[in-house]
């Protein structure tokens, strides 16, 4: 089983970043009922932020918080400019964010060109874990992503802000009656989701080739993750990411990445079809 451990680590790596992207989607959907199709472009902006900042000589580890801030700022602008006018029309938010994603992607193509570019990874030395040699940067990503996800969950489940946010997700009119400013929560949630996407883009940038299509490749699995996991609670994002991330990596190692994508997408459509409340809905039955 010498091939198993690197595979498991690859799966864990993909899953943990997928989780970061999915958390952003699930809290935005839970809070605002907005299916944010521009999420992949926030991811993209994070990755290009690293590219630009590295070009300016900023050390890599410093670019991560800056990419987080860039995503958050962009999210704030999008909410202020577009979403606040239409958040009471959920079907239209899908389309508006879709148009937004087209525009942002094309803006990036215009500024940086359509070709892919490389970002230098900060940790290039492989390390020995459990007797195998594995990329230290990937290990660092796993640690960072899990830590950030843990912080987000701690905020959601342990703080007063998180309590208010979860109350608004569970029953919005009731939360409003209790004096919770749900509009402000919307804004904070949306920019937090965007910031998480930007951060994920930044940590993934050294591993992927940075090109204008990379966001779409990440956001669709993330969407399927939250639907598979169940959009009812943020914790559903964990189950979904594990299923999608794990099965994608496993299938890609047996066949090709393209076949893996076809299989995993079909599989998730089947799961969504038979379990509309997702895997986390199973527990409540």
């Amino acid at each position: 089983m010498s091939g198993f451990l690197p595979l498991a680590l690859d799966a864990l790596n993909y899953t943990s970043v997928l989780l970061l992207v999915s958390i952003g989607l699930v809290i935005v959907f839970g809070m605002m009922q907005v299916i944010n199709l521009a999420h992949g472009e926030f991811f993209l902006v994070g990755a290009y932020a690293v590219l630009v900042l590295q070009g300016l000589g900023v050390p890599f580890w410093l670019t991560l918080p800056l990419a987080f801030a860039a995503g958050g700022l962009l999210g704030l602008v999008c909410d202020a400019a577009i979403l606040r006018f239409i958040y009471h029309r959920p079907a239209d938010t899908i389309l508006a964010t879709w148009g937004l994603s087209l525009a942002i992607r094309q803006a990036i193509v215009i500024i940086f060109g359509p070709s892919s570019q490389q970002v230098v990874a900060p940790l290039t030395e492989p390390v020995n874990v459990f007797g195998i040699s594995y990329s230290s940067y990937r290990l660092a990503i796993i640690a960072i992503a899990i830590a950030v996800a843990a912080v987000v969950f701690a905020v959601l489940y342990k703080t007063a802000f998180g309590l208010a946010a979860r109350a608004a997700m569970a029953n919005r009119p009731m939360a409003q009656c209790l004096g919770i400013n749900t509009r402000r929560l919307d804004r904070v949630t949306f920019s937090l989701g965007a910031a998480l996407a930007g951060f994920s883009g930044a940590v993934m940038a050294p591993l992927m080739s940075v090109d204008p299509q990379m966001g779409m490749g990440f956001v669709l699995p993330a969407f399927l993750s939250i639907l598979v996991g169940g959009v009812g609670s943020p914790a559903g994002a964990i189950w979904g990411s594990v299923v999608i991330g794990g099965s994608t990596t496993a299938a890609a190692s047996i066949w090709t990445p393209v076949i893996a994508q076809i299989i995993v997408f079909s599989l998730s459509i089947a799961i969504i079809r038979f379990l509309p409340a997702g895997l986390s809905g199973l527990r409540r039955k």
Partner: protein
């Protein structure tokens, strides 16, 4: 007759008189726009009536195009290589693809309409990947040299005038069919489903069956558009089945007006025409402009730019006396 209906009929009249004003090259270009118009109208039918936001319309369009190309090139074993048969099979193929998707999604536990959009995106990606990686149907390069449709009188659809008239008559027929369905009691049930699905269920309507039939009709019309696309361009490639085209169809329908067939139809013609006119001068900025324009239309004009202008209203039996 209301002025809106007059306007709609006037548009058809102008489209019918186009061959008198345009040269053969412009006519061929305009015929291609009509194909996109049919696709947009097919989307407007399920989007406007049933409220299903389908990101996979190109899946049906592309199925029609591929079936047409495969049949007329004689590549389906056991089926003779006839272009007209290909057109019929293309329509059936599009309808079947839609029926399969609808059958998977509408029955049983059922899917909330917001999830429907996401699932159709995934389905469109699957379709594109399959078409790109399936060697027999041409893979990445697609299928070349799709023969034109033979027409009575010894001509065929490669002739600009005949090609244009062919597409125009199919566009008119699909519009009539969809409009008739919209105005029939069937359409009333669909609007009921859009407004309150649960209430329609309680009233005894089999909501999944109605949705399935509506999606299959829409898929069939999109398949027809795809088949016409294949004979006009005489090639098909995975681009006709993927997400990019689905997105374009959505934008056309939204910009024109999703609830009105004619508005969506003209939306496609208009957007595609502007794209053609501007693509030389603004090039890469086009996608940026159309993306932002799309957002602006969604936020400011939920009925689309032409939705109110071309809305012929409810059938007489549903109007208040």
């Amino acid at each position: 007759m209301s002025y809106r209906l007059l306007l709609t009929l006037a548009i058809w009249l102008v489209l019918g008189l186009m061959p008198l004003a345009l040269g053969s090259w412009e006519l061929a270009m305009f015929g291609q726009l009509l194909v996109y118009g049919i696709a947009a109208a097919s989307l407007a039918f399920i989007w406007g009536e049933v409220g299903l936001v389908c990101f996979g319309q190109a899946l049906f369009f592309g199925t029609g195009a591929y079936v047409m190309a495969l049949t007329s090139k004689g590549m389906i074993p056991g089926i003779p290589d006839s272009a007209w048969l290909g057109l019929v099979l293309g329509i059936i193929g599009g309808a079947l693809a839609a029926a399969i998707l609808g059958g998977l999604l509408f029955f049983g536990v059922g899917l909330r309409s917001a999830y429907f959009g996401i699932v159709t995106i995934a389905a469109a990606v699957i379709g594109e990947r399959l078409a790109t990686n399936w060697r027999y149907i041409g893979g990445f390069n697609g299928l070349l040299d799709v023969p034109p449709l033979p027409l009575p009188g010894g001509t065929d659809s490669a002739d600009p005038l005949m090609g244009y008239l062919l597409v125009l008559s199919f566009a008119f027929l699909s519009w009539l069919l969809l409009l008739a369905l919209q105005r029939a009691p069937f359409g009333t049930v669909l609007r009921g489903i859009r407004c309150d699905e649960r209430r329609m269920l309680s009233l005894g309507f089999s909501v999944p069956v109605y949705k399935l039939v509506a999606l299959a009709v829409s898929g069939g019309v999109a398949g027809l558009a795809g088949a016409l696309f294949a004979i006009q361009f005489s090639f098909v490639s995975p681009a006709v089945i993927g997400l990019a085209l689905s997105t374009e169809i959505l934008i056309w329908a939204a910009v024109g007006g999703k609830a009105v067939l004619m508005a969506a139809f003209i939306g496609a013609l208009g957007v595609k025409w502007v794209e053609g006119a501007l693509s030389e001068s603004i090039g890469a900025y086009w996608l940026l402009v159309i993306g932002l324009a799309f957002v602006a239309v969604i936020v400011i004009f939920p009925h689309g730019l032409l939705g109110r202008l071309l809305d012929t209203g409810l059938p007489k039996r549903l109007r208040r006396p």
